[in-house]
């Protein structure tokens, strides 16, 4: 592999990870002003801000952060289907966050220990993500092992989002990590939390579903285009302006 190929792969990986953080941050930002309790207004905004910070670093490795965020169409975004899913109820948001934070934490731990362009970011981000994971875990336990209603809602959320989780373990060229090991560790972590929360781990497809790998190729789910329309409209309405 030539130097240029390697660079292209690194750029593609940075874009994929940056898009994950950018899109999930945006979804969490939609909660602000709508959270079930004031402490969660603070917590969800906090997580959204951490992710946005990560996205800005990653996208800046690729090019101009604003051009990348505001001037690409959905076919050019490389984020996972999981992160673009609408917020749904609080249980859906928490299930999405648990699945993604567990993945991101394990992935960034590995990237922090490899010596690559991602090491400085991963070293810093892994501390933030440990907090995100703890937050998602605590809420999964409260909702799963709370009332009958919250248990049902949490189980529904996990069931609904499970099919989007296989995509996380499609190897990203440019990141030299053991993807099978990542998948095993993730499964162990998430299964452990769900079990503790008295929830059932879904048996449905985690790979083989249409969604596995599609987001990374720019093939997204329908709600994503609408999300981008809202996110980008002001920036696109004033071409060339600075803000």
């Amino acid at each position: 592999m030539t130097q240029t190929d390697r660079q292209t792969q690194t750029t593609a990986a940075a874009l994929a990870l940056g898009d994950d953080a950018l899109v999930l941050s945006h979804r969490l930002g939609e909660w602000i002003g709508h959270a079930p309790v004031l402490e969660e207004e603070v917590a969800l905004a906090n997580i959204a801000l951490d992710l946005l910070g990560q996205a800005r670093v990653l996208l800046s490795l690729v090019g101009d952060e604003d051009e990348l965020a505001y001037l690409r169409e959905e076919r050019s975004f490389r984020n996972l289907h999981l992160v673009e899913q609408p917020n749904g109820d609080f249980a859906h948001t928490i299930a999405r966050q648990l699945c993604f934070s567990a993945y991101q934490h394990l992935l960034y731990e590995r990237l922090a220990h490899a010596d690559t362009v991602f090491t400085p970011l991963a070293t810093k981000a892994v501390k933030e993500i440990a907090y995100h994971l703890d937050h998602a875990r605590q809420w999964t336990l409260r909702l799963g092992d709370g009332t009958d209603e919250s248990h049902t809602r949490m189980q529904n959320a996990v069931d609904a989002l499970w099919r989007f989780t296989g995509e996380m373990f499609q190897p990203l060229p440019g990141l030299t990590i053991d993807w099978q090991d990542l998948r095993d560790s993730w499964t162990k972590t998430v299964t452990g939390v769900l079990g503790e929360a008295t929830l059932t781990v879904p048996t449905g497809p985690q790979t083989g579903a249409w969604s596995a790998g599609a987001g990374r190729q720019g093939l997204h789910t329908e709600p994503f285009g609408r999300m981008l329309a809202e996110m980008q409209h002001l920036h696109r309405s004033h071409p060339g302006a600075s803000w």
Binding site: G29, L38, E41, A45, R142, G146, T147, E149, S150, L234
Partner: protein
């Protein structure tokens, strides 16, 4: 409170229940508490939660601090309205951080109110049922991105002008909350100013957007200082208690004097043809405020009153199952030791 005055009984609020000694005894003690309270306020000392205080002082503080907390919470809405549309990632991060700070301010302030013996749930219930108010300013809509800058510059600016004197308010927990709030607010205000400056120096369309926002937010910001001194119901008593340090009109004048040069350096105008420097007074004269509009907004008939309270209620109601789950989980998993500690606290 550090005072030499003889006014720190073990359980001051049980003195009016008639169980401790005869009534003349109780009256004498009550008078002594009042005298000690008055002396402490006169000496600029801080009243603390366990100190005796007049019932009306307590009620006024509850009303004011709750209204202040509610304003932080409702005030998240007009700005959060633009989070998903912020035109650059930097601006988006700044705005999210700011709205997050506001939720934090709400939490400080509810805690301060709770030191006076009311619960946060009770206060939220009063907000949701319209029995307690929030600042009239948040009943105006954010129609463009520039409104986010105008809110930072003008609304936060007015809030700071109001709140800096509250850092010296006679009630300790409120004063200390204000110190923290004011630090963050001044940061927000500078960010709002900087946002408007970027627009004002940007394209023609951006400049027009900034001017339009300032035109719409100027008068509502002046209303944030409350009714004129001649019609302010609570002012005199609040000033005597040193909850308030300056009159509404004084603070409003101070704000106008600060804003005029800032508007000039922004390259924007303020929408008041009567605004001019008065050499004799050493202040800017300005036009008459439309108090009818102010009253309408206060009565719930402003542009967004219905929407704001509906959204707040909906967030609360739709979150009920989440709060119930948290409580049920805590009850299931609290150890006997933790329960004992909880009772003792």
């Amino acid at each position: 409170m550090a005072t030499s005055a003889p006014r720190h009984p073990a359980a001051p609020r049980t003195t009016d229940d008639g169980t401790g000694g005869d009534s003349s005894d109780a009256e004498a003690r009550s008078a002594a508490f009042q005298a000690a309270f008055d002396a402490a306020v006169a000496a600029d000392e801080r009243i603390e939660p366990r100190d005796w205080m007049p019932d009306a002082y307590r009620a006024t503080l509850v009303r004011q601090i709750a209204q202040h907390a509610h304003s932080e919470i409702i005030g998240m809405q007009p700005e959060a309205n633009w989070i998903t549309r912020a035109p650059s990632l930097r601006r988006k991060a700044i705005l999210m951080a700011k709205v997050q700070d506001e939720a934090g301010h709400g939490l400080y302030l509810y805690s301060a109110a709770e030191t006076l013996g009311v619960g946060r749930d009770e206060l939220l219930d009063k907000l949701h049922s319209g029995r307690q108010k929030y600042s009239s300013i948040f009943n105006y809509p954010t129609l463009t991105w520039a409104d986010v800058g105008a809110i930072g510059w003008l609304v936060d600016g007015a809030a700071i002008t109001n709140q800096v004197p509250l850092c010296r308010c006679s009630y300790g927990p409120y004063a200390r909350a204000m110190v923290r709030v004011c630090k963050e607010e001044s940061f927000h205000q500078r960010q709002g100013y900087e946002l408007l400056l970027a627009l004002s120096r940007g394209t023609e369309a951006q400049h027009a957007m900034a001017q339009d926002a300032v035109d719409r937010w100027w008068w509502p910001s002046l209303m944030m200082f409350g009714p004129p001194d001649t019609e302010s119901a609570h002012s005199a008593q609040s000033m005597a208690w040193k909850i308030k340090r300056h009159s509404n009109d004084e603070l409003r004048q101070r704000f106008v004097d600060i804003c005029v040069p800032q508007a000039e350096s922004l390259g924007l105008t303020l929408p008041d043809p009567e605004l001019r420097w008065n050499e004799e007074r050493g202040h800017h004269d300005f036009g008459a405020i439309d108090w009818t509009e102010f009253q309408e907004v206060l009565k719930g008939r402003g542009p967004c009153n219905e929407q704001r309270i509906t959204q707040r209620r909906r967030a609360h109601d739709e979150g009920a199952w989440v709060r119930e789950a948290a409580a049920a989980h805590a009850a299931k998993h609290s150890s006997p030791a933790a329960t004992r500690e909880g009772r003792a606290a």
